[in-house]
């Protein structure tokens, strides 16, 4: 609804109000704390006017009006509650209950259901009409959600959320009349459909039609009224999406996004499959007591004191015998800035380790070198610049895997503003949406980026000389053709390639997103070429490059800026004799760095879970809390923001905070950290991140 600055005088329930012209009656009422029940309306979604729960009487008209879609008008008189209105609302509600299966006592959503709450509010103690007992399908093909059409009231919130917030448009209304239901794509099941599993439909669903497959049972989740809601930030991928975490009895029950139209983030409060569902998964058996491997190879629990002493002793003895060079320290970039800085300090200063890095460190060797190349401090583009871009190029990036909300923003940019998006590399992320697609293998990416640069340079020249009708030089054309061939592009793709490059050249606000397939390459030249390509379009004010790196971990940017991920000149892995691992995320164990750990004299692991895959090569494992179980700061994927995440859950009994564990280790090694308290450490970490500058070459 078009709103303006003009105000109008209206009466709601005999109260005279001065409200903004153009807003709806519902908005006017809500802004003045007048309650009108709603059902299909959701503040983060467009107005629908479908359920008629919000009907009011306007100027005594015999026909009730839906307040969520009716704009205010000068001298309008509104009545929100009288017997006629209540009767109408109750009837609508009864029809909804009668139409499908809304039996609360066998619904997992009971107690956390807007339909139920409305029934209580309107005093619906029975139905005056018969139940239909029509049967509808139930879809359990999703790992995350159950879609039970029997519980659906067809309010269309999910359909709107899927289009307006997720930018997916997978959900729509299928069939007609009493067989009407919300379906995926063209009558596909959830599993077969193009649904990305973000779960925004689940969050806006006012009934039990779309329910979470985790924490479904009463025995686990208890009563919704007993839950404690904690404001937090999601640290899964680095977008630091604000969340509300519902906790009951030391268990995370559900995570909601802060859906609204007006938050200052382009995501409108959407969460992705990682932040909403993956965090509810168990990463294996929690470690609650230190464990030490005996001489016979079996793991036994051990006291904290003895385990810590053992780790310190082993690290010291290797340093004595082989020198600090033989020691390494590897941390997960899922850890908080505080954990990372403390760990780095312990390993670098305390143990004089030969190699200290992060599990995703190799991705940043190339990146850090490129930053050095330019010689002046440049800032990466922010992910929040996506909606303002007029051309986006994805190079070896799969945002759905790394930063799923970025893929949402891209889809929305394409669907809402029709901007051209070019993809080179993995095609899984958004096949039907992009204008230009080049499914390329990793090894072809460097040539592709080179070819892109060469073609862009040529096209740029051509455009500037257009009036003179000049054509590109034969030599350059040949070079581009050779590179295009080298990049593995078919001849037929050449035209699309040229169109894409010219879209880039013509764009004024292009944005290049570089992903793991490029940063993970052995040679840094591909990333440097991508950077030069971005530089060819100039900088955004504030020395901001038109390029962003989609990093593998939630706090990769923090790890990188704290110097854990750019240790290019470190000691080769085959000279490692012993070291310490600090893990934090279930995916840590799948990382490449883990597989490369060879036979070591000693390996200590600090981890929330028992590291099954390291059972053979590790010697001592020490428990630590999960990210949600301790406070910490995390840096956004673009490095622009650092957010403080409060402790949401208590760690299991017996698990010490990493601050304590690392401090005890430092004490026993005979090293004193420069920070005395955790707060001090936190300040130092944030300062280090803020003042980060690329090392000059």
């Amino acid at each position: 609804m078009e709103a303006n600055q003009k105000t109008v005088k209206i009466m709601i329930d005999e109260k005279e109000l001065l409200v903004q012209d153009g807003i709806t009656i519902l908005e006017a009422a809500q802004r003045n704390n007048i309650h009108i029940p709603t059902l299909c309306h959701h503040p983060a979604l467009s107005n629908w006017g479908g359920c008629r729960m919000c009907v009011v009487e306007v100027d005594g008209s015999p026909k009730l009006a839906a307040s969520c879609v009716m704009p205010v008008r000068e001298a309008m008189e509104v009545v929100t509650t009288n017997e006629r209105i209540l009767e109408s609302r109750r009837t609508v509600l009864e029809f909804l209950f009668a139409e499908r299966n809304h039996n609360c006592m066998f619904c997992p959503q009971s107690g956390d259901c807007e339909l139920q709450t409305l029934a209580y509010e309107l005093g619906m103690d029975h139905l005056t009409m018969s139940f239909s007992f029509n049967s509808f399908p139930t879809d359990v093909t999703s790992e995350y959600m159950t879609i039970d059409h029997n519980r659906c009231i067809l309010c269309g919130r999910c359909v709107r959320a899927c289009a307006e917030i997720a930018g997916t448009r997978v959900l729509s209304f299928h069939n007609r009349g009493p067989r009407n239901l919300v379906g995926f794509d063209l009558h596909a099941s959830r599993g077969e459909s193009t649904c990305y599993g973000c779960g925004v439909c689940l969050q806006v669903c006012p009934t039990g039609a779309i329910t979470n497959r985790y924490r479904t049972h009463y025995a686990v989740k208890g009563h919704a009224k007993d839950w404690v809601a904690k404001e937090s930030l999601c640290t899964e991928c680095g977008l630091l999406c604000p969340t509300t975490s519902h906790v009951h009895d030391h268990t995370l029950i559900k995570v909601d996004g802060k859906l609204s139209q007006g938050n200052d983030r382009p995501d409108r409060g959407q969460l992705c499959y990682k932040g909403r569902f993956e965090v509810l998964k168990s990463g294996g058996e929690r470690l609650v007591q230190p464990m030490v491997k005996g001489k016979d190879g079996t793991w036994k629990t051990e006291s904290w004191d003895r385990s810590l002493a053992l780790v310190a002793e082993k690290l010291k003895s290797i340093r004595r015998a082989e020198g600090g060079e033989a020691l390494f320290g590897l941390a997960s970039s899922a850890l908080s800035n505080e954990e990372l800085l403390q760990f780095r300090d312990l390993m670098v200063k305390g143990c004089s380790a030969g190699h200290v890095g992060s599990l995703d460190g190799d991705h940043f060797n190339a990146v850090s070198k490129a930053w050095e190349l330019k010689g002046e401090p440049l800032k990466e583009a922010s992910w929040k610049m996506i909606p303002g871009a007029d051309f986006i190029l994805l190079l070896g990036a799969d945002p759905y895997q790394t930063q799923p909300i970025v893929s949402t923003l891209l889809r929305r940019a394409i669907l809402e503003t029709g901007i051209p998006v070019g993809i080179a590399g993995d095609m899984d992320c958004m096949p039907p949406y992009a204008s230009f697609q080049f499914p390329l293998k990793e090894e072809h990416l460097p040539s592709f980026i080179k070819a892109f640069r060469a073609e862009a340079a040529e096209a740029g020249k051509k455009i500037s000389k257009k009036s003179k009708g000049s054509v590109k030089g034969k030599q350059e054309a040949k070079e581009v053709a050779a590179l295009v061939k080298e990049a593995g592009l078919a001849k037929s793709a050449k035209k699309a390639f040229q169109e894409m490059v010219s879209a880039f050249v013509l764009s004024t606000h292009p944005l290049i997103l570089v992903g793991e397939a490029v940063t993970g390459l052995k040679s840094p030249s591909a990333f440097q070429d991508a950077m030069k390509l971005a530089l060819s379009k100039g900088l955004v004010s504030g020395n901001v490059l038109r390029l962003m790196v989609l990093k593998p971990y939630g706090n990769s940017a923090g790890a990188w800026k704290l110097g854990l991920s750019s240790n290019g000149g470190s000691k080769a892995k085959d000279s490692w004799k012993g070291g310490l691992l600090c893990l934090g995320h279930p995916k840590d164990l799948d990382s490449k760095a883990m597989a490369e750990l060879g036979n070591l004299d000693f390996l200590g692991v600090i981890s929330p879970y028992f590291p099954e895959t390291l059972a053979d090569c590790a010697h001592v494992v020490l428990p630590k809390p999960l990210g949600l179980e301790s406070a910490g700061t995390y840096t956004s994927v673009d490095g622009w923001e650092t957010g403080f995440v409060e402790k949401v859950l208590d760690p299991p009994e017996g698990v010490k905070d990493s601050w304590e564990t690392l401090k005890s280790l430092a004490d026993q090694i005979g090293f004193r950290h420069k920070f005395k308290t955790w707060e001090d450490l936190s300040q130092k970490a944030q300062k280090a991140i803020k003042s980060w500058r690329p090392a000059s070459s």
Binding site: N103, M105, M124, D125, H126, L127
Partner: protein
């Protein structure tokens, strides 16, 4: 009017509403001292000849021919008919079977149950046949007072009964309404 006469019946339900009523503990004594309980699953009388009643209470949905007959009989003999619990009010958990053919339900219950050996679906002239669908009481006879809940809490049951005995029509306040 002398001591109000009250009867309660238990139809297709788990008896949880009666259990919840018994959960009133010592308050039960004061309530029962104000009424004459003529018939109830607790009394275990086999005689269904209801006297003229003031309050008839039904727990459970209408699931078989016997329930149907008794509901009509009770309605005829009582001044105020009360539906206790979600089963009587909405059909309740029993309605799970309403989405299936009756034959499938009986076969699943009497023949295909994992612990059943040589199961037979009981058919006897003394056994009331199951209805195709279990129905809320008000689909069969008019109901005066609805007390939903699975089960309604003892407080809610007492509140509604005491209100009736005091001559008021109980309208459950928002916080007493519960469908689970």
């Amino acid at each position: 009017m002398g001591v109000p006469k009250v009867a309660t019946v238990w139809f297709e339900a788990c008896s949880g509403c009666h259990m919840s009523f018994l959960d009133l503990d010592e308050d039960l004594v004061s309530i029962l001292s104000k009424v004459e309980l003529t018939f109830s699953p607790i009394t275990d009388f086999k005689d269904y000849a209801f006297p003229e009643l003031d309050v008839g209470i039904i727990e459970g949905g209408i699931g078989n021919e016997e329930h149907l007959e008794l509901a009509h009989k009770l309605r005829k003999h009582c001044r105020i008919l009360v539906a206790w619990g979600d089963c009587a009010v909405f059909g309740g958990v029993n309605t799970l079977r309403n989405w299936l053919p009756k034959a499938d339900v009986l076969r699943r219950g009497y023949v295909e149950t994992e612990s059943t050996v040589d199961g037979v679906i009981p058919i006897h002239e003394e056994l009331p046949p199951l209805l195709d669908k279990v129905l809320p009481v008000n689909e069969v006879v008019p109901v005066d007072v609805f007390v939903p809940g699975c089960p309604p809490s003892p407080e809610v049951l007492a509140y509604s009964l005491v209100s009736i005995l005091q001559g008021r029509t109980p309208i459950l306040p928002n916080e007493m309404l519960h469908f689970d």
